[in-house]
Amino acid sequence: MGWSLIRIYTILVYGFMFLPVAVVVLLSFNENQFGSFPMTGVSLRWFEALWNNDAVMRAFRTSIILGLLTALISTTLGVLASLALVRYAVPGKNLITTVLIAPILVPEVVLAVALLLFLNWLGIGKSFALLLAGHVIFTLPFVILVVQARLVSIRRDVEEAALSLGASPMQTFFSVTLPLLMPAVAAGGLFAFTISFDDITGTLFWKPGGVETVPTQIFSMLRNSISPEINALGTVMILLTVGLPLLGAALARWLSMKRGV
């Protein structure tokens, strides 16, 4: 009795989480000119409109380049730091960890203001460089947490075996540790990319005039009113940020099955 009540409650909570998103996807296929209810038919016209919308396509390019660079830098810094924290006895480890995850302890608005004002004072105004610096700094803690959790589970003996068989530390890292760490590196990179791709809070502070990322583009389109084009853009973003990681996970699984690991 009690259990089935909790079950119904949980289903309602999940419905609350997903129904609005489902409506976005549904309405993006709406034929109706105003993109609202009632739906009059199924059509891809809004996706076509997106494809022909230069501003949106530019925003996509900006977001993807920004996301890839963020992922690359953030993952590199994060993996190196995680290795140090997990593999070595570093004095003051707790303090260092706190410092490294500080960017998610500080509200993003405050981080955004501080970085904007400081770099501006140094002579770096609102620019792509400022955007990249901002995105790297607040994705870094997530990468470190993900990679560290993974690194702990890799056994030290494997590395020691390689070392005792005559491999140099460098060789050991590249041919033993890194391959084992690859899933964590990939997860960290994907995480960084998605967070960067989604960000709007900091991005609105840092972006130069005229440059838009996908979220800020949606935001400026919302100023007028909600249009079916926004729903279509939302659907594309959902496909990208949800579909790609799932595809990646499936691919990784298929590869490891093929290798028989």
């Binding site: 909790i6 409650y9 949980t10 909570v13 999940y14 609350f16 989480m17 997903f18 609005p20 998103v21 409506v23 105003f34 609202s36 209810f37 590199t76 810094l77 190196l80 730091a81 290795l83 924290l85 070595y88 260092i96 410092v99 490294l100 995850i101 500080a102 960017p103 302890l105 500080v106 509200p107 608005v109 405050v110 203001v113 501080a114 004002l117 400081f118 770099l119 004072w121 901002g134 790297v136 870094l140 470190i144 947490l145 993900v146 560290q148 959790a149 791709f197 989604d198 809070t201 502070f205 979220p215 949606i218 935001f219 919302l222 909600i226 926004i230 939302g234 959902i238 949800v242 990681p245």
Partner: protein, 288 residues
């Protein structure tokens, strides 16, 4: 160089890029805006360096700022409570279910991957004047004209709950998952009812997760300015909106610095209290 010396230096070489980045892009900038908040905005050209208390005096005494600050804390608190009420039973269900746990967990992680702005604006499709709800009510004949449901404090809270609920569920789930189910069984075998066993055994043991989720919801909720811009009316500004206004619209950077620091201090006190009693490790558990 001896082997030991190299061994001792190595971790610092690995750590230096990340520590350098955090120092240069977060810690120093924070220190910088502390200084900047004492400067004065000048109408033309660069702001005037100096040590003036004007910005701080205004930030702390202006009744409008105080009203917005209190309202922000109120909205964040209501959001957190609703998240806890919605999230706890759901987390409990996931933690104790057998068959479909994996799917439920996957679905729970999904909102983290769906863009915040998409999830926020999705409510316009539901509650807007030609949205799903108004259309449905009109076609049934309950109302003849669309009612105005959007752009008020209620929809701001709704949007925040929708955004933050997964954080709450995930944190509670993680701590429930760490509780030995035998404890509850032991309590019932000793004569407690299921409900008593839950209230006196499971609930207290899961409080760290609830607190971690609550802290995240509160801090993230109180620091947002996008949700009020999309789902709130002109009078539903939150404190971060003041910061945004000062920095981006009015270009009053010294004032914006003071306001950001005020927000940081208010939320920092909460995090410090939390850290004092529960420690930071609980907070990072949900991510690992």
């Amino acid at each position: 160089m001896s082997v030991e010396a190299r061994e001792r230096r190595q971790p610092w070489i690995l750590l230096s890029p990340a520590l350098g980045a955090v120092t240069l892009l977060l810690l120093v900038p924070l220190a910088f805006i502390v200084v900047y908040s004492f400067w004065l905005r000048s109408a033309v050209g660069a702001d005037t360096p100096g040590f003036h208390l004007d910005n701080w005096q205004r930030a702390l005494t202006d009744p409008f700022f105080r009203y917005i600050l209190l309202n922000t804390l109120k909205i964040a608190a209501i959001t957190t409570v609703i998240c806890a009420l919605l999230g706890y039973p759901a987390a409990y269900f996931i933690a104790r279910s057998r068959g479909n746990k994996l799917i439920l967990l996957l679905l729970l992680m999904l909102p983290f991957w769906i863009s915040y702005i998409i999830r926020t604006m999705s409510w316009i499709n539901i509650l807007g004047s030609s949205g799903a709800l108004n259309t449905a009510l009109m076609s049934v004949g309950v109302i003849s004209e669309p009612i105005r449901m959007l752009y008020n404090e209620g929809t701001v809270i709704l949007g925040l709950v929708h955004f933050l609920l997964p954080f709450m569920v995930l944190n509670i789930y993680v701590s429930l998952e760490g509780i030995d189910t035998n404890l509850e069984d032991a309590a019932t075998s000793l004569g407690a009812t299921r409900w008593q066993a839950f209230l006196q055994v499971t609930l207290p043991l899961s409080l760290p997760g609830l607190a971690a989720g609550g802290l995240l919801c509160f801090v993230l909720g109180a620091g947002t300015y996008i949700t009020p811009l999309i789902l709130g009316g002109p009078r539903d500004a939150m404190f971060a909106n003041l910061v945004f206004e000062a920095i981006i619209t009015q270009l009053n950077w010294p004032m914006g610095s003071a306001l950001s620091l005020l927000l940081l201090m208010v939320l920092g006190v909460l995090v410090a209290i939390y850290n004092r009693y529960l420690g930071m490790s609980q907070l990072t558990k949900g991510l690992g």
